[in-house]
Symmetry: C2
Subunit: 294 residues, 2 copies
């Protein structure tokens, strides 16, 4: 039996039924359908899990279809703040940035922190300077094309939380996870959610699992959601489905909502959410393939 590979993505969870009939769900699904196959081909060709989840996030950031990267929405003070994190399951090396305004691809800034510094997290202007110093593309406020322009115009709350993410298991059995967000529309300025918090929005540990979360970040921080899932799999031997479901139930019990993508070291996948939808896609070497939003 050949070694298993798996790639799973999310593009945010929320009240997506609201978009029925607008063409928006179909547009996002078409994008994810192409992306999931491209990423699977990368894994089949021997690409490292870390490179695959990075590439997944860059593509979603650049698409302007989700609340991340180009699609980020302005906060209460009218400017975009992005957060991102990435983790390698083999070494448990991690990198993250929070509250960056001028970095085109926050996930690349997170990876730069992981690989080019002794640190895990940089915030604000200094994180931007670090990214620029390492040659990452810088953009101005005109770059952003908020994906939720209807909500901006009508002052209705955004139908889904920002945040996109990816988890992968590569041919070498290495797990990785990455998450990136441009915040919710009219997010309070300076507020940081779970996306850049290792253990909350993102976690990966080889021989156990990899997790990326989306939703009301405060609940994922308070429950240490990503680490909880990995801990339950590691310490209790729970399946990825039971572990992720338990974490989701805990968040719901506290009053939170959102979604989770989680995989284990054999390529099994769980994608629970307690909203009306979650943009998501998965493809595994067992022949599973799913692209969905509701």
């Amino acid at each position: 039996m050949s070694r298993p590979i798996t790639i799973a993505l999310h593009g945010g969870a929320g009240n997506l039924v609201r978009y029925r009939g607008t063409g928006r769900l179909e547009e996002a699904e078409a994008f994810l359908s192409t992306l999931i196959d491209d990423l699977y081909v990368m894994l089949e060709g021997g690409s490292a899990a870390l490179d695959v989840v990075t590439h997944a996030c860059v593509r979603m950031e650049d698409s302007a279809l989700f609340h991340a990267g180009r699609g980020s929405s302005p906060n209460t003070k009218g400017y975009v703040e992005c957060d991102a994190s990435i983790m390698c399951g083999r070494t448990r090396a991690a990198g993250a940035v929070a509250s960056v305004r001028s970095v085109k691809n926050p996930i690349l800034a997170a990876r730069t922190v992981m690989e080019q510094t002794d640190h895990v997290l940089f915030v604000g202007t200094e994180a931007e300077l670090l990214a620029e110093h390492h040659g990452l593309a810088v953009v101005d406020a005109n770059y952003f094309q908020p994906c939720d322009t209807a909500a901006i115009a009508t002052e209705v709350p955004s139908a889904h939380r920002g945040t996109v993410g990816a988890v992968a298991l590569d041919l070498n059995g290495i797990l990785a996870a990455a998450t990136t967000t441009g915040g919710t529309l009219r997010k309070t300025a300076g507020r940081v959610g779970d996306t850049p918090i290792i253990g909350a929005g993102t976690y990966a540990a080889n021989r156990v699992g990899a997790v990326s979360c989306t939703g009301v970040g405060e609940y994922f921080i308070r429950t240490a959601a990503a680490h909880t899932i990995v801990s339950r799999m590691q310490l209790l031997g729970e399946t990825v489905g039971v572990a992720a479901g338990t974490a989701m139930s805990d968040i719901e019990a506290l009053g939170g909502n959102g979604g989770i993508i989680a995989i284990d070291d054999r390529g099994n996948v769980a994608m629970p959410y307690n909203t009306t939808g979650m943009y998501r896609a998965v493809r595994t070497s067992r022949g599973e393939r799913l692209v969905a939003s509701l």
Copy 2:
């Protein structure tokens, strides 16, 4: 048998043997000796764990004896950046601030985030504005009296990492944890460690335990140290000593160092560290009392 109460503190871990003969260890221990008794009296009198850990951190921040609050050290760009977090075990409510420069007591800003907003983490200028808006004391750069002036003058590395913290179990069986830091001397500007990260530097869950960490924060983030300890106690039934020791060993295996204070819901305490010293104090209703640095 009466209900157990416990209070434990740390004032940072590091190469403290270097301070032998300077009087500095004795000065810190004298301070902690008074403080631990004051905090114990609060608990005996029925004060809430959350109030006791808050008070503990405020006193340590104001003392200028540790790398937190008034004793914070300038970063590579010459200014102080403070981080803090607090968590209530009963509700798992949490609050945190990162990279604040002008807040006199970062732990009070963290508590304000927890109690006065729907959020968990605020960073930078907006965190400062939030604190000011809620009436917290604001200071300018002259306020700080770096506790490591010898190291500043001589350009030698600081002998210990910043970060102070407290964990408490109150008469109602409620657990709480709080951690606050002014960063290491010449910390890279914009870098944020484990202190404001719920699950890394701070975690509390009733009926399980409360944890506060100090040391090279990156390793505590990568291992989700505080949450790991609570998870092991909760899921495996490990004692607080075994769980905290295992987390410490994991950090050491990755190349990290520091220390941990952890308590369980019956008031048992563990205070492992793998440096030459950790300022620490503990007092329990079983009659245990310890104040030590080496």
